[in-house]
């Protein structure tokens, strides 16, 4: 009589024979990629990291804001969701890698190898984020069940070994052609991520060899985009500079970057704000920091500056998303370039217009103005400029300074739309700082800053400073002090203290606390330690 009670799923096939042919393997690989859509409140994950650093401020009262303020704990949603998200991706990769042998006979060898290599690449990529965020993590390389899931943490160095080995082996089976809108990871992507992981973990030789291998494909597969700002607009999605990006498409998967970054006038919310300190980071066009350069004019602070300032941020006086962008408190009207009319300026009057006087320009694309929640610009995971600067930094740290180091740095500085004077210092320490600064100038807003301030151990310095906004009705009458890392310090410049008007003093937008004994790593999620007693917590979290 059990027949009546035998009811099997009507929607989904059983997994028992899955992966028996090429179609099924490709479907499984697609699923491995789908975890790249990991996000926090519809913001692609890789762009959220800057809001946990000195250069960005999350206005929404959210887990991201709390984490940035040093108030994140083991139950913080970002900490839990990202852990879960990366392991979800790893689980799908493991299933494909472990079980695709079932269908090996039915697929041609090259396709089989390529599918497997891409799954290994994705697994390594997911691990690369996990180790940088949490430190030691359980290294899961096969499908787990309830019985064998209580694993201990694997030392970070062993996971790094694994990632480097996987990426080395996978790169051999991946396509060489760079086509960033294909969505598929290429050989260069595997090597570029390998270079990044090696650099972050001070494996200088691996970093040099992997970045060199990518640089060997310069001209054929990779090149710096001559128009820097194009990289962050839809028309730059297929640029030769993009090595690996996450694919978005209206109707299938979208993000809301326009709304998060854009200005009030342009019908966006400016939830994510750049720190005012960031704007003061960039050099003047003579290659000198603003506290040294004669070209810097405190009354007109954004003039004569590295063009990447204007490409990265919307600064007062510029055109932004069809409007004249002006955050001076008295500028109650501004020009609307879309209608060619003078209109009321919300940036000056709206209570929730940007608090810092600046907006992010990268990824805020005017074509999304009427559908600010429907953005599908592909956010970049890694691009060629990073490979060049990784090469340079690794060479310097390895004590192998030669012409190729200068060439790599200056290629980034000299691209046609940037045209900054070359770095020439011969002092190895100064040269290292030059690379550090260059990374800030080049990658601000792209989610790399968190990993840089962690590995350079400068987080405890920059994160314990108040995050500042512009004076509402003036600019400081002198430049702040700019340090070796291009961080700005406002000694001698009035900062509004508790209760004071910010009309003529720097506005305090946020106060953060960074505990150097704790905050260089995220905690292991609380619930994970409940279900798996083998996991030891990171120091000072419980």
């Amino acid at each position: 009589c059990d027949d009546y009670l035998n009811r099997m799923p009507l929607n989904n096939p059983s997994d028992e024979t899955f992966l028996s042919n090429e179609t099924e393997m490709k479907m499984a690989l697609t699923a491995c990629y789908s975890d790249l859509w990991l996000n926090f409140s519809v913001m692609p994950f890789m762009l959220t990291f800057d809001y946990l650093t000195d250069i960005g401020y999350e206005r929404d009262v959210s887990a991201l804001q709390a984490l940035g303020q040093g108030a994140g704990d083991a139950t913080n949603k970002v900490i839990v969701d990202y852990w879960k998200g990366f392991y979800n991706g790893i689980s799908k990769c493991n299933n494909l890698i472990q079980n695709m042998d079932r269908g090996r006979a039915n697929v041609n060898a090259a396709t089989y190898a390529q599918i497997k290599a891409e799954a290994r690449f994705l697994r390594a990529l997911y691990y690369s984020y996990l180790i940088e965020l949490y430190g030691d993590v359980p290294l899961v390389t096969e499908v787990l069940s309830l019985n064998n899931s209580k694993m201990a943490r694997t030392p970070k160095s062993a996971v790094v070994d694994f990632i480097l080995k996987e990426l080395t082996e996978a790169s051999g089976d991946m396509v060489e052609t760079n086509n960033p809108v294909s969505g598929h990871a290429s050989k260069g992507a595997a090597l570029a991520i390998k270079a990044r992981v090696a650099l972050y973990n001070e494996r200088w030789a691996d970093a040099i060899s992997a970045s060199s291998a990518v640089m060997a494909m310069e001209g054929t597969q990779y090149a710096l985009e001559s128009n820097y700002s194009k990289l962050f607009r839809n028309e730059g999605e297929a640029s030769k500079e993009v090595i690996f990006s996450v694919q978005y498409m209206v109707g299938t998967q979208v993000h809301t970057l326009y709304r998060l970054f854009g200005s009030r006038n342009a019908s966006a919310f400016t939830n994510k704000k750049p720190a005012y300190q960031l704007a003061d980071s960039w050099e003047c066009v003579d290659g000198l920091p603003i506290d040294k350069s004669p070209l810097f004019n405190p009354k007109d602070p954004f003039k004569n500056r590295d063009p990447r300032l204007g490409y990265t941020l919307a600064v007062p006086g510029s055109e932004f998303l069809g409007f004249q962008f002006e955050t001076h408190g008295d500028s109650i009207q501004c020009w609307n370039y879309l209608t060619n009319k003078r209109v009321n300026n919300l940036e000056a009057t709206h209570a929730y217009a940007t608090f810092t006087g600046l907006c992010w320009r990268k990824y805020a694309n005017v074509e999304n103005r009427l559908a600010s929640n429907q953005c599908d610009m592909n956010p970049i995971i890694i691009r060629y400029a990073e490979v060049l600067l990784t090469y340079a930094e690794a060479k310097i740290k390895a004590g192998q300074i030669d012409a190729s180091v200068y060439e790599a740095i200056n290629k980034v500085r000299n691209r046609p739309s940037v045209n900054m004077p070359p770095v020439t210092t011969t002092d190895p320490t100064e040269l290292f700082y030059a690379v550090c600064r260059e990374r800030k100038y080049e990658f601000a807003g792209e989610g790399l800053r968190l990993f840089d301030i962690r590995r350079w151990k400068i987080a405890e310095d920059v994160m314990n400073e108040p995050l500042l906004g512009r004076m509402k009705k003036a600019y400081p009458d002198k430049a702040p002090r700019i340090d070796k890392f291009a961080n700005a310090y406002y000694e001698g410049i009035p900062i509004a203290s508790q209760g004071e008007s910010a009309d003529f003093k720097m506005r305090v937008v946020d106060r953060r606390i960074f505990n150097a004994e704790r905050d260089y790593l995220w905690p292991i999620p609380y619930i994970e330690r409940q279900t798996n007693p083998e996991l030891v917590q990171n120091p000072n979290y419980e």
Binding site: A31, L146, L370, Y526
Partner: protein
């Protein structure tokens, strides 16, 4: 009864009628006789503790009278001298003990279908034989049997049934006399249910049944039903009681309360076990009204009412908002958001320019609908001896308090009884219902209206929508943001065939198909908002989208049973065996389109072709059961019952599908023992009961938890094209099987002085192998399967007391019920999930888990150098912030017991701060009637409970929102015992979950008060109306509570952004022809 009752009389030359009165006073016997027969008959009696039968035999010897005893009825009649086989017509009148006529009493010849009912004056006439016995009955009165004999005029007085012992209670697959119940069963009278003017029938149960807690968490039309929990929560998943309407599972809210004849609540395992597989949370049996033979009646009842919100937050105006915002900014070291000059100009300009300087009362401008409701219910009932039919038509229409918020319900039920032959009878019931729920497409109106500051524009002076909060404008989207329509047609049929070859054997087969559809159309319409200068601001949502979904559901229920019921002398035996199978299938599909050029046409084809999507799905489950029951009673005194049920479920893998669930119960009617006679005048009835039983549960959301299958919804984009993906995202569990609840119940029922009924029960329930989606390590990368995870216990008691009496023409009744349940999680395999409500071993289910607030941080908490002296808290904490207790988490002396704090407030400092399950739930109903005027009052409440609000509901400036008037009582140096902490903007210290935000949610509520007037029959009878009553009724009029201001005490744990509960005032009429 007549076997055990004894009487004592010592009298000389006593008239028979006096003798009968004496016996009536000493016992529960009631004599019926024709006055003329006993007139002038006097006897001498001297008896002590004799059986009444022997007494009567003695005194009637030598008269031409005889007697017959039927339970408590004694009929005295003349020994017939006429031809017994001759049919003749007799007449009579039935009245109550006041002498008032009883209208509609049943008069039938016992053992036949020959019967009639009394007319408006209580008169009847019927054709009978002298050997016949008349059976006269009426609801609420003790039935009487009278031998016809030679009499031709029968004037009968019916005695009110104060004890209700003969009342028949519906139990699983049958009925049982209340006196013979051995399990914990409560029944609810129709009269009580009918009092409440509520759209959702579940609410009508609130406060009426001991052990049944009904909680209302929302006031949204159509979603304002109560969650019913019987004796606490036994499982961590779905705790809903099983609700059967005439044996068929159906939502209680799908029926109109007026259709209901009676409701039985089966609370212990012994009573519910016959429903085995799904009865673990208790069973509610609803019996609908059926027609009576040879009686035609039409009745109509209706009411109209108006609802209004019970409580609503009082938010500050625009100027206060800005001033307080600045305080909150500067308190946290940030620069003020609004300059003094701006606020000055705002004050001046807001009087003339409301567009640029708005002062919007978001809540009152959002709550603009009238909240009117109306209900109409028409019943036609009639039939012949062989076929009887009742048909009901119900219509209910309820407006919400926000625009486009409405619920309509159309119900039709027809119950037909057919006596096909002497041995075969059939029932054919049909229940058709259509519910239509309308609401704005977005359900977050209250969430936004609670949050948006008054200095944001709602409606501009030219009629355009203001910006609201970045385009989220609840005034706009409730009126103009598109509609969500949920239409729910359903049809339930019930075919039942009964074969009764002899009077002790019944074979019954029932087939009940239940088909229903859900059509869910959600048209989310683009709402353009405008800046104060008329230029477009935000559009929210940014495009119009339509999701149009249909689900078809079919449930088949097939039941067969054989019942044996026979009395062998003093041994009563009842046995039943049965089989049941039930299957369910759901099929559904959904279409999606976006970009509607013509937003007035919210149908799929009017949407854009691009990005259109189609989805479909199906699922099914099945249950199969074999069950049996034996009842045995000895002399109606010792009662015993045993049940067993063998259940199979498709939700478990082969090998784990079947479970056995037995139960036993016994009762002893102590008051029937001879030794009880002495206290019988005080305690007329006393029964003790005990039961033990097991129930199974297979109710988990996933129909196939054992099956490891592919998720086909994992897409990605390659080359600007979407690609289908597949992967395993859910972990399977092949070992999963039944969850078992064991219940022990001990109870007593007793009656004092014939008027005060008391029922008390103590129970202990343990649920084992609880089905739960226990957290699993996230590194597995798949979602957790349901597991047989743990153990939960519930222990508690129920007490029900009722009292009814009359003083002259004033009839009154009072009933009190109170119950308590304590819940404890015994075992969870060691896993403790995180979050605000948690399940922890040793604690109550869904306990609140948070920091322990210990007042505010005061200046004394800092040393001379400004260093904080206690454990570090969150963010930029300061004086006036909530201070948390640094729990002992560090073991400094190595004895394994933590004895010191760790100096920092973090996750490790969270503790259980309280439970969420209401304790000491009670209801008190009082009603009185005097010459047609009736008044009833229902008080209902909870003696101990915790409520918890957070977020924009209660926390000042949560996520950049605003504050309420009550927040002005905030901490300052001069106001150290403030109601709220210092104002702080974007700071996390005070928004941590803590005991600060937990409040006592105990309450007493005037649930209903109703005043009615029945027009005297003399007046209405001229219009052929048999009953006409008008009433005015108020629900939730008044509540005594100490919860957060602005929210009803039954507010769900959350951010207060829910549709608030309503109070209502209604006017109604009941008329019967």
């Amino acid at each position: 009864y007549s076997q055990s009752a004894t009487v004592s009389v010592d009298a000389k030359h006593i008239s028979l009628s006096n003798l009968f009165n004496t016996i009536e006073r000493q016992s529960e016997f009631l004599f019926t006789y024709v006055n003329a027969d006993v007139e002038n008959v006097y006897v001498d009696v001297k008896i002590k503790n004799r059986n009444v039968g022997s007494v009567l035999s003695e005194v009637l010897k030598g008269t031409n009278l005889a007697y017959s005893i039927n339970d408590r009825n004694i009929n005295i009649y003349k020994v017939s001298s006429v031809n017994q086989s001759k049919i003749r017509k007799i007449t009579g009148k039935v009245s109550d003990s006041n002498g008032d006529a009883i209208i509609g009493a049943n008069v039938v010849v016992k053992g036949t279908t020959n019967g009639t009912i009394t007319d408006i004056d209580g008169n009847f006439s019927i054709e009978v034989l002298s050997s016949d016995v008349l059976l006269i009955s009426y609801i609420g009165f003790l039935s009487q049997e009278i031998k016809v004999g030679d009499n031709s005029v029968f004037n009968t007085t019916l005695k009110e049934d104060a004890l209700g012992l003969d009342e028949v209670v519906v139990v699983g697959f049958g009925t049982q006399k209340k006196a013979n119940l051995t399990g914990a069963v409560s029944s609810v009278s129709v009269q009580e249910m009918g009092k409440r003017q509520v759209g959702q029938t579940s609410l009508a149960l609130q406060g009426l049944v001991p052990g049944v807690a009904v909680t209302q968490r929302s006031g949204q039309p159509g979603a304002d039903g109560g969650t019913i929990s019987i004796r606490g929560k036994t499982t961590l998943g779905n705790n809903d009681a099983l609700i059967l309407v005439d044996g068929v599972e159906m939502g209680l809210n799908n029926i109109d309360a007026s259709m209901i004849e009676s409701i039985s609540v089966l609370k212990d395992a012994a009573s519910a076990a016959i429903y085995g597989s799904r009865a673990a949370n208790g069973v509610i049996l609803v019996t609908t009204k059926r027609a009576e033979a040879d009686k035609f009646s039409v009745s109509y009842n209706a009411y109209v009412g108006q609802q209004s919100v019970i409580d609503s937050p009082n938010k500050v105006d625009a100027i206060d908002h800005m001033l307080l915002t600045n305080i909150a900014y500067t308190n946290t070291g940030k620069s003020p958001l609004y300059s003094d000059s701006y606020i000055q100009s705002y004050m001046t300009n807001m009087l003339t320019d409301r567009d640029q300087y708005p002062n919007t009362d978001w809540l009152s401008e959002t709550m603009t609908n009238n909240g009117l409701m109306q209900n109409h219910f028409l019943t036609l009932s009639g039939g012949s001896k062989r076929i009887r039919t009742v048909a009901n038509f119900g219509y209910f229409d309820q407006n919400g308090i926000i625009e486009n918020s409405n619920f309509k319900r159309y119900t039709f039920r027809m119950n037909t009884d057919m006596d096909i032959s002497e041995k075969f009878s059939a029932r054919i019931d049909a229940h058709l219902a259509l519910t239509k729920r309308l609401s704005p497409s977005r359900d977050d109106a209250f969430s936004w209206a609670n949050r948006i500051p008054a200095n944001q524009a709602g409606v501009l002076s030219n009629g355009q929508w203001g910006e609201g909060w970045n385009g989220d404008n609840p005034i706009a989207f409730t009126r103009d943001g598109g509609l969500r329509k949920v239409d729910n047609p359903s049809a339930t049929l019930n075919f039942s065939l009964t074969y009764k070859p002899t009077d002790w054997l019944t074979v019954q087969g029932i087939y009940s198909p239940n088909y229903w559809e859900t059509h869910n159309t959600a048209f989310s319409k683009m709402v353009q908002t405008y800046k104060y200068d008329g230029t477009p601001a935000y559009a929210s949502p940014q495009m119009s989208t339509l999701n149009d979904q249909s689900d078809r559901n079919l449930r088949n229920l097939l039941t067969g049973s054989v019942t044996f019921d026979k009395t062998f002398g003093v041994h009563g035996v009842k046995a039943m065996v049965g089989y049941q199978q039930e299957d369910f299938r759901n099929d559904g599909h959904r279409g999606y389109r976006e970009k509607f050029v013509f937003p007035d046409y919210p149908v799929l084809s009017a949407g854009g072709e691009e990005n259109q999507k189609a989805y479909g799905w199906a699922s099914e489950w099945a249950l199969q059961s074999y069950f049996g029951r034996i009842n045995y009673d000895f002399n109606d005194k010792y009662l015993f019952e045993a049940n067993v049920r063998y259940d199979g479920s498709s939700k478990f893998a082969t090998g784990n599908k079947w479970g056995v669930f037995p139960s036993f119960s016994a009762g002893w009617r102590v008051s029937e023992e001879p030794f009880w006679n002495k206290i019988k005048p005080v305690v007329d009835n006393f029964k003790v009961r005990a039961s033990w039983g097991q129930l199974g549960n297979q109710n988990i959301g996933d129909n196939y938890p054992f099956s490891s299958d592919l998720n086909l919804g994992l897409q990605y984009i390659f080359n600007n094209q979407v690609a289908s993906g597949a992967g395993i995202t859910a972990l399977a569990n092949k070992l999963i099987t039944w969850e078992t609840t064991s219940v022990t119940d001990i109870g007593v029922d007793f009656t004092l002085l014939g008027k005060l009924n008391i029922t008390a029960d103590y129970f202990y329930k343990v649920t084992d192998d609880i089905l739960l989606n226990l957290d699993v390590p996230l590194i597995i990368g798949m979602t957790a399967p349901a597991q047989n995870a743990g153990k939960v216990e519930n222990r508690g008691w129920d007490l029900g007391i009722s009292y009814a009496d009359r003083i002259g023409d004033f009839n009154y009744r009072m009933a009190l019920n109170i119950s308590d349940v304590r819940n404890k999680v015994l075992d969870l395999k060691g896993v403790n999930e995180t979050g605000l409500t948690v399940n922890r071993e040793g604690e109550e289910m869904n306990s609140l888990y948070a920091l322990e607030a210990i007042g505010y941080i005061q200046p004394e908490d800092y040393d001379a150098n400004g260093a904080y002296l206690h454990a570090t808290q969150y963010g930029n904490f300061s004086v006036g912030d909530i201070k948390y207790k640094d729990q002992l988490t560090v073991d400094t002396d190595g004895d394994g017991i933590p004895d010191a704090g760790d100096g920092v407030i973090n996750t490790s400092d969270r503790v259980i701060i309280g439970g969420t399950i209401p304790r000491y739930t009670f209801g008190l109903s009082m009603s009185g009637e005097y010459k047609g005027v009736d008044l009833s009052v229902l008080l209902q409440g909870v003696g101990k409970a915790n409520g918890y609000l957070y977020g924009q509901g209660i926390q000042p400036f949560y996520q950049g929102g605003t504050v309420q008037e009550q927040h002005k009582d905030y901490w300052t140096e001069d106001n150290r015992n403030a109601k709220f902490p210092r104002l702080a903007f974007n700071e996390t210290n005070n928004t941590q979950h803590s005991s600060f935000w937990m409040k006592n949610a105990a309450y007493v509520r005037l649930k209903n008060i109703q005043l009615g007037y029945s027009i005297p029959k003399k007046i209405i009878n001229k219009a052929s109306i048999s009953n006409l009553r008008f009433y005015i009724s108020a629900d939730n009029l008044f509540t005594l509570e100490n919860f957060w201001d602005g929210f009803d005490v039954e507010a769900p744990v959350g951010n207060g952004g829910y549709y608030p509960q309503m109070k209502s005032l209604s006017f109604g009429v009941d008329v019967r022809f």
